[in-house]
Each structure stands twice: as structure tokens, then as C-alpha cells.
Amino acid sequence: MSKVRLATVWLDGCSGCHMSLLDMDERLVEIADKVEIVYSPLVDNKEFPQEVDITLVEGAIGNVEDEEKIKMIRQRTKTLVSLGDCAVTGNVPSMRNTCGAKAVLERVYLENVTLQPQIPSESVPALRSRVCPVREVVKVDVFVPGCPPSADTIHALLVGLLSGSVPDISLLSRFGA
């Protein structure tokens, strides 16, 4: 049987959801047996491949590149999972929506600075005016709340998805958990 093609990406998040994935500890070995990790910050593939079975997305959509990237990922993925509160609701990154991207940039790069105050704009992506959850940009198949969802939740999710069903994780995780 060919292995399930799994990808993981981080957009505007804190990497906590990826850390929770690693918190599966030795269960990682058993999962790694059943999947091929075709793209992830943990491996060296630089290009998001075609025909990915499952993609776990951490983080909200915070800048223009997040947006382009998630659209491309959607096209290449069968089952797209919003993993964690940032991906599901926008969570902490979207707190900046009350003041806007401009105020954030001014505070960080013009005010709290000693030398060469300026807003970086070369080789760095522009911030979106509003941070939004993944589902506002593309269709999401599975939502997993939690900040982060626990390793047990992620394990149950993967075991379910690998056997071809979407498990009910509503009893395992909740917002902010």
C-alpha cells in the first residue's frame, strides 16, 4: 500500500501547534511509518508538491504571502486541516486588527528603535491590513481548535484521517485549551 502523503505548514502562528505535533513523542515513529512527509518545516523539501493527501495548517493569514501560499496549497491538497486556534479563528495574531498593521509597524520600527528607523519593505512580504482565519481565504475540510490542540488530539486526528475517516475531536479539544 502506498503511504499517505502528509504536509505541514506554518503561516502566522507561534509554532506551538507544530510543537504539539512533536509532543506525540514516540508515537511519531509509528505515524512516520504510515506517512510520507512531503513538505514541512521539519524536512528539507523546498517546494510544496502536487497531490498531497493531508495538509495540516498552523497559523492565521497575516501577510500577502500567506494568502498566495494557502491558495496554492488548497489546489494541491485533498484534505486541508486548520490546526489550532490561529488557523481556526485568527486567535492572537488577529488581535492586531483593532489597531491595524500600520500602527504595529510604526510602533516596532519607528518608535522602539535607536538607529535607522524605517519600515522594512525590501525582500519582506507586506502585512495584510486584516489578519483572518484560513477559512476566509480557502475552503477548510477539518477544524481542530486548541491553543495548541494537545498531542493526544493530534494523534487521534491523524489516526482517524489515516484510516480514511474524519474523527470527532469535539470531546478532545476546545478553544484556548
Partner: protein, 474 residues
């Protein structure tokens, strides 16, 4: 014709970044840049929130070292309240902090960097990762997973949750330690020590193979900065003082109160990255370059402060006559620090008051400004808040560990690129070394702000007008 090589995204580092390498007509590397492209703006988005929310909110800066942010943030809040927290509460915070350093260092060393060290810098990129290591060297992979697990389990057993635990609060911690918790944590320590001693063994035996990497992986003179304990040993909780040494190991500044950081640290901005560049003000920018983190700490302290770690420390310091300058040795220093954390945790757990119920001080805010400083896995972390008379945050400034190393990481990338990258005959392993030097610093880009541009690795041949003449993909 000038070429620009772009490594994007950088992989096996914590967060997103990219590197561009500028190559001249002759194929020689002219310049190199390490870009970070994302900002979440915690310094702004916390405004208007009550100060006591800060530890929980600021932990969300980073899922890898949330406990460091909990420490610095809670200490800034203690300062706002003007309280000295009960010593058992401080010791419990210290234990959680040590546990986190173990897991964060284990992640950096095993999950992210050891594939380069054990499978080789030129190994097949498809398997050069922790999963490839599980197949090729299951013993080491298991050691890494277990060691990280010990750290995370201790954090969980104290705080109820592995990532973003809500247990560290302004004034102390919100629950005392039980006998069962103490015994559970103590039971994990011996195996942890076995693992780390085994790891130090194979790492040291293998150093010879990496002589060339050691020579050029960010190997240059800089100052080193960090907190030392009250006995000038390793002190991650940050209740000693700040020390700065130069590249020969001589002390430049000592007994510095970290709360005066604005007097001697400046921050500069460059247009091509969202990560700012802190520098040592008396020397100016960019001459005021310094490094922080495990390598810096071992160059700063007089001793570690626990028996086995002190033996390793003595050996480490014989690597060079002054300070140890090669950033490759961040790995080595990281392993010694893990050993120290395990031993230190054991010492603290045997403290006579560790089960005391006095773990938290209560007070309304008494100061309108507070600064909290701790040593995070990656270096000195500073949280600085101001509040209004309702206790709401009106201003915040954060100096994040990874930021301090920004100048040094950029210089290291250039050094490695100059030595290994040949613009006429590009090979994957060359570029992996450029990434590997960044891995040695273990930057946490989630902490810093973080980048996103995740395009494939492309090499563009650009014409004089900037038009792309030719493109190569990894």
C-alpha cells in the same frame, strides 16, 4: 553576470526565514543576507489589555520557548506590583524554566541539527531529517525524542499543559508542588542524564570530522552577553546580573543591572528584514556586535554550578585560549547546558521548602513601569511594560534572544557562503551548510517576528536591469 541565490524557505529551523546570496561574475560570493519576513506586533497588540493577562498572552509569541516568555513577562508583572515573590514560588518557576530549556535544546540538537551531523551535510535532502534519522540511527532519534519528552513532561506535570501552561502568574505560580509531582519529576532525571552523557560522548568523538565547519561556521571575534547567576555560574531565571566579555574572554562590563538595558543596548532597523539589530551602544552599529545564547553563556560564566556539567565545562573551555569563537560550538554548549539543567533541577527539587504552600504574592500594581529579564534557551530575553492607573498596558518593548544574534547570524551566513558556495557550480550540500550555520544559532523566528515567503529554492540569473535571465530550481 551577477547572480542571486535564494534559499527559501530555510528548513529545520524554528520559524520561517530565507537567505539570499549575491554572487559576482566570477562565481564568488559578494554578500549574503538572512531575511525574516513576518511581524505580529506583540509590542502593540497588547495595549489596553490588563497587565495580569501578559504572561498568558506573551507566551503565545512562541510555542517553542513559551516558558521563557512566561518568566520574563511574569517578572515584569512582579515589578509592576512591586512584590518580591515567595522563594518556593521562584524555585518552582526555575524548575519549569530548566525543563523548558532541556526540551528546546533537545529539539534544536536532535530534531533539527543532528541529521546534518549524523547523516552528513551532503546527505540526500529527502531523508536528511528526524524521520530519516529514525530509520538510519533509531537509537539517537529515540534519545532525542525522549529527552525532549522529559522536558515537556515536567512542564506538563507542573503547569497542566505542555505548551502555553497557565501556571506562571504575576506574583509567583498558581499551585504548589505535590509530593507526587516532585517524585515523578525526580524519577525522570537519571535517565535524562544517561541520555545526555551518551550524546556528549558521540558528539565529542565526531568533532574531528567537522574541522572545516568549525573553522568557518560563524567563527569570528565578537563580544558575548548574558545573565550570570549570583555566583557567576549559569543562571537562566535571571536573578544574578548581566555580564559582557570580549572575544579574548576579558570582562568588558560586569554586575550590570539588566533593567538599565536601554543605556547600553540600541536597536537598528534594516530595510530587508523584519528582525531588528540590537547592538552594544558604546561601540556603535554594527561594530557593537555581540552574541548571546549557549555559547555566549559558557564564555561568560566562571563555572556552571553542578558537578557533571562543571567537568564538561572545564573541557569545553580548553577548546580555545580566550572565548570559544566558532558558532559551531553552540551545539556543544547546548548539550552541556542540558546536563546542567538536569542536575540543577534535582538540586532545586531537594530544597527543603520546595513543597511549601507559599508560592504566590498578591498585590495591586504599585509601579507604572516594570522590566523582566530571563535567559531563554537562545539568550537574554527582556520584557518591558508600562501601565496606566487602571493597570492596563499602555506601552511595551521586547528584546528577544534571537534578535541579539541577528548581526552575528548575518555575518556567519556570509562567512560560510564565501567558503562553501561556488556560484559557477552549485551543489545542494553547499547550500545546506549555509542553512546549517543558521541552525547552529538555533534562532527562534516565531519569537522574533517571522517570515513567510515559502517559495521553492530558486537561483535567478539577473541582468543589469534586474530582469531574470535564467532560473534554476532545487
Amino acid at each position: 553576470m551577477a547572480k542571486k541565490i535564494v534559499i527559501d524557505p530555510l528548513t529545520r529551523i524554528e520559524g520561517h526565514g530565507k537567505i539570499t546570496i549575491h554572487v559576482g561574475d566570477d562565481g564568488m560570493v559578494n554578500n549574503a543576507f538572512f531575511h525574516i519576513g513576518q511581524v505580529r506586533g506583540f509590542e502593540k497588540l497588547c495595549e489596553g489589555r490588563p497587565f495580569y493577562e501578559m504572561p498568558s498572552l506573551m507566551a503565545r509569541i512562541c510555542g517553542i520557548c513559551p516558558v521563557s516568555h512566561l518568566m520574563a513577562s511574569a517578572k515584569a508583572c512582579d515589578a509592576l506590583m512591586g512584590v518580591r515573590i515567595p522563594e518556593p514560588g521562584a524555585n518552582l518557576r526555575r524548575i519549569m524554566n530548566l525543563a523548558q530549556i532541556i526540551q528546546s535544546h533537545a529539539l534544536s540538537f536532535f530534531h533539527l541539527s543532528s541529521p546534518d551531523l549524523l547523516l552528513g551535510m551532503d546527505a540526500d535532502p529527502q531523508t536528511r531529517n528526524i524521520f530519516g534519522l529514525m530509520a538510519a540511527n533509531p537509537g539517537v532519534a529515540r534519545d532525542g525524542i525522549r529527552l525532549r519528552q522529559y522536558g515537556q513532561e515536567i512542564v506538563e506535570s507542573l503547569g497542566g499543559k505542555r505548551i502555553h501552561p497557565a501556571w506562571v502568574v504575576p506574583g509567583g505560580v498558581n499551585a504548589p508542588l505535590s509530593v507526587e509531582q516532585r517524585d515523578r519529576i525526580l524519577s525522570l532525571i537519571p535517565e535524562g542524564i544517561d541520555v545526555i552523557l551518551r550524546t556528549l560522548g558521540w558528539f565529542k568523538r565526531g568533532l574531528e570530522k567537522y574541522r572545516e565547519e568549525i573553522r568557518v561556521f560563524g567563527n569570528f571575534p565578537t563580544m558575548f552577553l548574558g545573565m550570570v547567576s549570583a555566583s557567576a555560574g549559569l543562571g537562566f531565571y535571571g536573578d544574578g546580573w548581566l555580564r559582557i566579555v570580549d572575544s579574548t574572554g576579558n570582562i568588558v562590563a560586569d554586575h550590570v543591572d539588566p533593567r538599565t538595558y536601554q543605556d547600553f543596548l540600541g536597536e537598528a532597523v534594516e530595510p530587508w528584514t523584519y528582525l531588528k539589530f540590537p547592538y552594544y551602544k558604546p561601540l556603535g552599529y554594527p561594530e557593537g556586535i555581540y552574541r548571546v545564547g549557549p555559547l555566549a553563556r559558557l564564555n561568560l560564566v566562571n563555572h556552571c554550578g553542578s558537578p557533571l556539567a562543571d567537568q564538561e565545562f572545564a573541557e569545553f573551555r580548553t577548546l580555545e585560549r580566550g572565548a570559544v569563537l566558532s558558532s559551531f560550538h553552540y551545539h556543544y554548549a547546548r548539550l552541556i547546558e542540558i546536563l546542567f539543567c538536569l542536575e540543577k533541577m534535582e538540586q532545586l527539587l531537594h530544597h527543603k521548602d520546595i513543597l511549601s504552600k507559599h508560592v504566590r504574592a498578591f498585590a495591586a500594581p504599585n509601579n507604572d513601569e516594570g522590566i523582566g529579564v530571563a535567559e531563554a534557551p537562545r539568550g537574554t530575553l527582556i520584557h518591558h511594560y508600562k501601565i496606566d492607573d487602571q493597570g492596563r498596558i499602555i506601552w511595551a518593548n521586547l528584546i528577544i534572544a534571537t534578535g541579539h544574534n541577528n548581526l552575528a547570524m548575518n555575518r556567519a551566513v556570509l562567512q560560510v557562503a564565501r567558503r562553501f558556495v561556488d556560484g559557477n557550480k552549485l551543489q545542494e550540500g553547499m547550500l545546506n551548510r549555509v542553512e546549517a550555520v543558521i541552525r547552529a544559532y538555533d534562532p527562534c523566528l516565531s519569537c522574533s517576528t517571522h517570515a513567510v515567503g515559502q517559495m521553492p529554492l530558486t537561483i535567478d540569473l539577473v541582468g543589469p536591469e534586474g530582469e531574470v535571465l535564467d532560473q534554476l530550481r532545487r
